[in-house]
């Protein structure tokens, strides 16, 4: 089954990290990504630019409206994702628990819908 792991973390906390800490953290992410590529779990994964770069788009009655900012204001912000291939939810949760941000932020694990 495919699962999308949505990575939520406090941007402010990340921005205030010392350079050494930030480098170490990035190093953990590279190592984690390498690990799940080797184990065959990796499908895709990206980091996102901060929410102040987000724009939300809606079409209503044929008219497009755009607003500055994310769809929902939250304490922790969506900062990136992994799409993984896992045997079942236990397998997926085990992988998600190893995403470096799981230690300070939260990982939302969502099974991917399959349409026939």
């Amino acid at each position: 089954m495919k699962y999308l792991c949505l990575i939520y973390d406090e941007e402010a906390k990340m921005a205030n990290m010392s350079e050494a800490d930030a480098n170490a953290f990035m190093g953990e992410y590279f190592a984690f990504t390498e690990g799940i590529k080797k184990s065959g779990h990796y499908v895709a994964g990206e980091a996102l630019k901060p929410v102040n770069t987000a724009t939300t788009v809606r079409m209503r009655n044929g008219k497009m409206s755009t607003t500055d900012g994310p769809f929902a204001e939250t304490k922790e912000q969506l900062g990136g994702f992994y799409m993984i291939e896992a045997r079942d939810l236990n397998d997926a949760l085990q992988i998600a628990s190893r995403i470096p941000s799981a230690r300070h932020g939260s990982i939302e694990v969502r099974p991917v819908e399959v349409f026939n």
Binding site: M1, A86, R87, D88, L89, N90, A92, P111, N116
Partner: protein, 408 residues
């Protein structure tokens, strides 16, 4: 049987539907062809073929099901039904029902429904909630098991301790449902308690953690009092009034030994502590000669570890035995004043009992009346009505005394 079928077909609803059809087939064929050599194996095997039929019928709606049906058909092989794999299936089922990805309420409801076969009504009572709510929880939980890919398996060894707590909670709720059945005319439903104890033993065997041992001890010690809990005509007998010669010494000996084992491990928790309290009761010759100060002391530790209002209520009852009924009433009133246990019948019946002992009959009557509106259990209803009648008699007596005084 359901647990085995769920493992074989990999889907709760499909297994239930298939089992239902297998039973229907048995009703039709067994009287005609005679009872099969192994009825259990017959039902499981028939159930598995029925599951394939069900999937075939669904094929035109969903192409992916066709593949599942083919796989299931290819996997059909003679079923060996030793006791061990059967218990494994039960354990698999209970760990799946108690998966932490499910909301806690749903874990309990699903286990009681799927593993123990309780009705939605019975679960609702154990939960202090509405049957409709329970039904919704079960439907949503099954949907999540299916859609999120929650596996049907016992967790890996390193995950077991974390997953065990939820399982123990569920087992104890099932035991309580059997120990004091929530509706109907029989106070005790031995099969459910026996089921919970069986699950408890199995868990201790699989994972001899202190709390699993403690829970088993607690259940055995409570079970040991079963024969003394009701009179021959089914009336309820309070712990203080029970004939202790009727207590099952074999269960007590086993329970006490398990309590000691749990407490020695130094990793004990609420279940081991409650079992320790039950062991003190079990070893006391009479209610009066019980070591109440020690029981209150254990409750103090329990309230710190697990601040539940029900445990506070039990502590209040122990304090009443140590310090007198007035102290107990004050503690129960404090719990109710916080807005907790307002709909919990035992809070009101315990309060009524203490008020009765204090001779505050009008207040006792009101408390019993409140308890009466909250019970669905026929035996408890009769018990409460009996208590209220005894108050009525007392009131008439005091009225007579008063009127005599007036005449004099």
């Amino acid at each position: 049987m359901l647990a085995t079928l769920i493992r074989l077909v990999g889907d709760f609803d499909l297994a239930e539907e298939a089992l239902h059809e297998a039973f229907a087939a048995a009703v039709e064929r067994w009287p005609r062809d005679g009872l099969p050599a192994n009825p259990f194996a017959w039902l499981v095997s028939t159930g598995r073929f029925k599951a394939i039929d069900v999937l075939r019928r669904r094929v035109r709606f969903d192409a992916s099901v066709a593949e599942l049906a083919r796989q299931l058909e290819a996997s059909v092989e003679p079923i060996s039904l030793d006791d061990q794999p059967l218990e494994d299936d039960r354990l698999r089922l209970i760990f799946t029902c108690c998966h932490p990805a499910l909301p806690p309420d749903a874990q309990v409801a699903l286990t009681m429904r799927e593993v123990c076969g309780l009705t939605t009504e019975e679960i609702a009572h154990a939960y202090l909630t509405a049957p409709r709510t329970v039904a919704q929880r079960i439907v949503r939980a099954k949907a999540k098991i299916r859609d999120a890919g929650i596996p049907y398996q016992v967790p890996a060894r390193d995950e077991l301790p974390r997953r065990l707590d939820a399982v123990l909670h569920v087992v104890y709720l099932v035991f309580n449902e059997g120990y004091s059945a929530s509706s109907g005319t029989s106070l005790t439903r031995h099969d459910l308690s026996a089921e919970a104890i069986r699950l408890g033993r199995l868990l201790v065997e699989l994972l001899p953690e202190a709390e699993a041992v403690g829970l088993l001890a607690l259940m055995l010690l409570q079970e040991s009092r079963r024969a003394a809990r009701t009179t021959e005509d089914g009336e309820l007998v309070l712990l203080s009034d029970q004939d202790r010669l009727l207590w099952n010494r074999e269960l007590i000996a086993e329970g006490v030994a398990l309590v000691e084992r749990a407490l020695q491990s130094q990793r004990f928790g609420p279940y081991s502590l409650q079992a320790a309290i039950a062991a003190i009761h079990a070893e006391a010759p009479t209610a009066e000669a019980t070591d109440w100060p020690q029981i209150v002391g254990i409750y103090d530790v329990l309230v710190r570890a697990d601040r539940s209002p029900v445990i506070e209520l039990n502590r209040a009852a122990a304090v009443a035995m140590r310090d007198g009924p007035a102290a107990g009433v004050a503690l129960i009133d404090a719990i109710l004043a916080r807005g907790e246990l307002a709909d919990y019948q035992f809070a009101h019946s315990a309060r009524g009992e203490l008020l009765r002992r204090l001779g505050r009959n009008e207040e006792a009557r009101a408390a019993y009346e409140r308890a009466l509106t909250l019970t669905n259990q026929e035996t408890e209803r009769r018990f409460l009505e009996g208590r209220m009648r005894s108050l009525g008699d007392l009131r008439e007596q005091s009225d007579r005394v008063a009127s005599r005084r007036e005449r004099n």
